[in-house]
């Protein structure tokens, strides 16, 4: 057993974990932050995407202990003061989801895309950058629209 400490959504947390505990297990089972999903076992679906030290990672493909001392942001950390994050609001406004299972990963990847490409990111770039996020409902059109709209709304932040 190991003790792991990190900052999750602005709060210091720690826990006793087995060495093999994945970061997504630590978030879901220890911290009860079940917004981050697990959709596959091959690291391809992207439902578990979160931000560690400012960049997107697949939390099913990282050990919890590897995040020791890191700043972690999950989907639960985006909204503040009772208001959705602009990217969440854009998904709602543009019907960027149907069943919603992939949505936490899509939103976290969307924010990461804007962080790296700016508020005027074009459609082709969004589609290429979404390679690691799979959606089985929407056909992606409204997700891409939502991310571009969210990008504009994030511009002022």
């Amino acid at each position: 057993m190991l003790t792991v400490s990190m900052n999750v959504n602005g709060q210091s947390v720690s826990g006793e974990i087995e060495e093999r505990t994945l970061l997504v297990q630590f978030l879901r089972e220890h911290l009860k932050l079940t917004g981050t999903h697990v959709g596959c076992d091959t690291s391809q679906c992207g439902a578990c995407v979160i931000h560690v030290d400012g960049v997107s990672i697949k939390s099913c493909t990282m050990l919890a202990i590897q995040a020791e001392g890191s700043e972690v942001v999950t989907i639960e950390g985006l909204a503040g003061n009772g208001q959705l994050h602009p990217m969440q609001q854009a998904f709602k406004d543009n019907h960027g989801l149907q069943c919603g299972f992939c949505t936490p990963g899509m939103v976290m990847s969307g924010v990461d895309i804007v962080n790296r490409n700016g508020s005027e990111v074009d459609e082709a770039t969004v589609r290429k950058e979404l390679e690691g996020n799979i959606c089985r409902c929407t056909g992606y059109h409204n997700i891409v629209k939502a991310i571009q709209a969210g990008a504009k709304d994030m511009g002022g932040q």
Binding site: E19, R20, D41, E68, E131
Partner: protein, 264 residues
């Protein structure tokens, strides 16, 4: 996943010391292959020695003739490095097309090369560019390092420290990728070097290799047409649900032609 002992080290010497005393230890780089393999219980190491704390493995440096990339430099960092893009633009582009953005933020050049997946991208670049793989014990040049499917010349207690690439302005990497994994069904890295055209082929056979027949033809006539008349050995090509051996042999030629066009 079976459980294991975990230790994060801050020096290469410490990592070597631990693995020598471990029953069946493995080095952990970016973990983008290692962890999925362990989740499927296809690997069951007794110890994971995390190289993430070794600062010297995360450095990028260059001199007049070469650029040296530390083993723990991520694909995202290679793709974003102005230094690497100026030295070998084709290598930046290759790194920026591995997997997806989240995978690129974790996966490393050293991990990719040490794993030597038959469909990985970096081995083709190491072979075509005649790069030097520098370990804590010795140096390997180009294709000497890759010995078979998931096999390399590394000893169990040997760590890749860095990979040194000769600066090469005219080069291109073309891959026909699996749409889910982004691994190469066939990938061709072509480099115009001082010694002529060099080609590294990945995804097609058990292990990335030099495309000698393609090189010979292109050294005589550097045009897409000269690729047409070559017969590639279909019996050596991989065959699976994604592509037959015949299709892969065809794809290698198509990717080579595209690389030639990109370098013309």
């Amino acid at each position: 996943m079976y459980n294991f002992s975990y230790e994060k080290v801050s020096s290469v010497d410490k990592a070597v010391e631990i693995i020598r005393s471990a029953e069946d230890g493995k080095f952990l780089a970016g973990g983008q292959t290692m962890l999925p393999t362990m989740k499927h219980r296809l690997a069951d190491p007794s110890n994971l020695i995390d190289l993430g704390g070794i600062k010297e493995l995360k450095e990028i440096s260059s001199d007049e003739n070469s650029v040296t990339i530390g083993a723990m430099v991520t694909h995202a960092a290679v793709a974003a490095s102005i230094e690497i893009n100026e030295a070998i633009p084709a290598l930046s582009k290759l790194a920026g097309n591995i997997g997806d953005p989240a995978v690129r933020n974790r996966g490393t050049i050293g991990g990719s090369i040490a794993n030597n997946d038959p469909a990985a991208d970096y081995p083709a670049a190491v072979i075509a560019l005649g790069a030097t793989v520098i370990t804590n014990k010795r140096e390997f040049v180009g294709d000497d390092f890759f010995t078979g499917m998931f096999e390399t010349a590394l000893d169990d207690d040997e760590i890749i420290v860095s990979v040194k690439f000769p600066k090469t302005e005219v080069a291109a990497y073309m891959k026909f990728e699996n749409p889910a994994s982004r691994y190469a069904i066939a990938g061709v890295f072509l480099a115009k070097t001082a010694d002529g055209v060099r080609i590294g082929v990945t995804g097609a056979t058990a292990c990335a290799h030099r495309g000698m027949r393609l090189e010979d033809a292109l050294n005589q006539d550097f045009s897409p047409n000269s690729v047409d008349k070559i017969d590639l050995p279909v019996e050596k090509m991989n065959s699976d649900i994604h592509a037959s051996a015949e299709y892969r042999a065809h794809l290698v030629k198509v990717m080579t032609k595209r690389a030639v066009q990109a370098c013309t």
